[in-house]
Amino acid sequence: MICRLRTAMALVAALVAGFWVSGLVAFASTRGVLSVTLPRRRPDPPERHNLASWDLGPTIRASSYHDDLGTQHHPAFLVDGRAFPDPIEKWASSERDRHPWVEISWREPHDVDRVLVRHAGDREFTEYTARNYRIRCLLERGVGPSVDVKDNRESVASHAIECQRARGVRLDIEPNGPTEIVRVYEVEAWGL
């Protein structure tokens, strides 16, 4: 009886250990990318509109974000449509992230004609405005047209980009210096 109990316990222990080791392998190989999908509050209007608007239920993915206890600059702030945001209401990348990017995708394909980026220079110091970045159009499969921005000085920068049946846009932003982070208040993608 005791012998059988011990065998059963050893078997359970081996199963639990195997379960945990599988979890450990999965954990070690994971590099979580923040992805948040906002609930859809209204359908897309028929006229030209901001496809990235928070109430159309976009999904925002970001390579990192500044996630201090008191100052969480979450990437969802990029689409909140706030005209006069508080300094916390921006996306800021992590200090360790030297290749920050953010993707905003929407639920159905749309034609995009313009991307507007409200940089931190609009609300804070002008030197916070990102100088160099690339805007890429995301398609159902792969990547569409892109715009390379060099030495940008506009705190509210509007970029023309013609992209048919786009599912989203991606911004790869180069930090302004080796110890700098990226700060962006809003991204709007205009189209039909």
Partner: protein
């Protein structure tokens, strides 16, 4: 007692400990926000990309070993469909199961000390009666001592380190008692357990010195060598993990010691007088502390490794400006086990029956019953005194807030949470969602992403939220969840 009776008894005590811990899990508030923000949240952030990072993690002062261990469980349990507060609760239940290793150590330690003590006693019990009585007492005290029960639900480094160190001391005592035939495996286990204990909590280093002293005094040089090598190898694994994660061998430990000891940074979190632990201990057991301390001192020839580890740890911690009760958690099981061992050795010969040929008289039966009652009464007194004077811990972390946070995480239409006290919650793991949860800020009430606010009932935050057209949708204890009315 037959082997079967002993096994039943051991299982019953373990089940008693498990039940108490489950009650604590459901009824008692978490002891420390570090559980969530130093160990769970970093692991969850690695998995989901969402999580709050504390300055210790930003500066690289924490090892990835415990978050890695917990992260492996998170991934594995997520395959079973667990997330949010349900995942957090499952992790805490698993921790409770792990904590029962201390009950087992209490049995083995109490038995080991009782055997050693009864050999030295002129009224030595002829069989292993002393070991049995000491073991039962040790297990029961470790199973039921209130502070151990509540800390058994918290995923902090103190508990696994305490388990490792206590087991190392117990096996050392057993090894010394075995004579020269002691196995190499026991010596290797001692080293590994100490390595684990010190790797998780470097402050427990005095235990390693005591174990070394113990083996040296017993002239177990070979065992000492094996324990040293396996201990160094186990500790080395912690260094390797640092190398992989932070880029330098033992870099998180070096940073930790540098900040806390060299730069004196620990003082930023509060400075208490050197006698703080004494006051705290006497507050925990105002009536029974003397009983708990005197008995191990009476049996010091057998209990010295336990008593010396506890006193040296307390002395070390008392030199530090910042003090917290959890830092000295290890002292409690050491004292309880030492107490159980000495009392077991003392009680066993007094419970001895005359054998089947010599039935014992009524008077002797009454005497036996009285001794048993007195000793069990003292043990129960320690537990009851501890329960009556359990005053909570340094932090006010009401359970209701965690439940309310978990509730918000389950709402499909939630897209942002304003939170009255981020440190008082379970972080992004507990929320189970990746939308922003940010410290309450009235300017954010106008931000349409924030659909929910978790605040204390009757607070200024509640008034501000209501004036911004948030309405109450959930309440638990002193806490309410408000939702933006326009979304109703």
């Amino acid at each position: 007692m037959t082997r079967r009776t002993l096994q039943t008894l051991g299982l019953s005590i373990t089940a008693f400990g498990f039940l108490l811990r489950l009650v604590a899990l459901i009824r008692v508030q978490p002891n420390h926000p570090d559980e969530f923000f130093q160990y769970l949240e970093p692991a969850w952030r690695r998995i989901s990309g969402a999580g709050i990072i504390t300055w210790e993690w930003r500066e690289g002062l924490r090892s990835w070993v415990l978050p890695g261990y917990l992260g492996a469980w998170m991934r594995a349990l997520a395959w079973l469909g667990l997330r949010g507060s349900a995942l957090g609760l499952a992790l805490r239940v698993h921790w409770v199961v792990v904590s029962l290793l201390l009950v087992w150590a209490g049995w083995r330690g109490g038995a080991m000390i009782a055997r050693a003590e009864s050999i030295e006693s002129p009224r030595a019990a002829p069989s292993d009666d002393a070991g049995v009585v000491g073991g039962i007492l040790g297990a029961a005290l470790c199973a039921g001592f209130p502070l151990l029960v509540t800390f058994s639900t918290d995923m902090l480094t103190e508990l696994p380190s305490t388990i490792g160190v206590v087991w190392a001391l117990v096996i050392t005592g057993e090894l010394v008692g075995q004579g020269p035939t002691a196995s190499k495996r026991s010596a290797a286990a001692i080293g590994s357990l100490l390595g684990l204990g010190l790797g998780l909590r470097v402050q427990h280093a005095p235990a390693a010195l005591v174990v070394g002293l113990c083996l040296l005094a017993a002239r177990r040089y070979r065992a000492l060598g094996i324990a040293f090598v396996t201990g160094a190898l186990t500790l080395g694994l912690f260094g390797v993990v640092d190398w992989f994660t932070w880029g330098g061998i033992f870099s998180s430990y070096i940073g930790y010691v540098n900040f806390n000891l060299v730069q004196g940074g620990a003082a930023q979190f509060g400075v208490e007088p050197w006698y703080w632990y004494g006051v705290r201990y006497s507050n925990r057991l105002p009536n029974m502390l003397a009983v708990l301390l005197i008995v191990p001192i009476v049996g010091i020839r057998s209990t010295w490794p336990f008593v010396l580890t506890a006193t040296s740890l307390l002395s070390l911690l008392s030199t530090q400006p910042h003090k917290e009760e959890r830092f000295a958690l290890l002292c409690w099981p050491l004292l309880l086990i030492a107490w159980a061992g000495v009392v077991g050795a003392w009680l066993a010969p007094r419970l001895r029956s005359g054998g089947p040929q010599r039935p014992i008289s009524v008077g002797r039966q009454i005497e036996r019953g009285s001794w048993l009652l007195a000793c069990v009464g003292l043990g129960a007194g320690i537990l009851v005194d501890g329960a009556l004077h359990f005053q909570g811990t340094e932090f006010n972390l009401p359970l209701a807030r965690y439940e309310a946070q978990g509730w918000v995480g389950r709402q499909a239409d939630a897209s942002g949470l304003l939170y009255d006290d981020l440190l008082g919650g379970g972080g992004y793991l507990w929320l189970g969602r990746t939308f922003p949860q940010v410290e309450f800020n009235s300017s954010l009430l106008d931000n349409p992403i924030f659909t929910h606010a978790l605040v204390e009932r009757g607070s200024n935050h509640e008034q501000l939220a209501k004036s911004a057209h948030f309405v109450e949708v959930y309440s638990k204890g002193d806490f309410v969840v408000l939702r933006r009315a326009s979304r109703l």
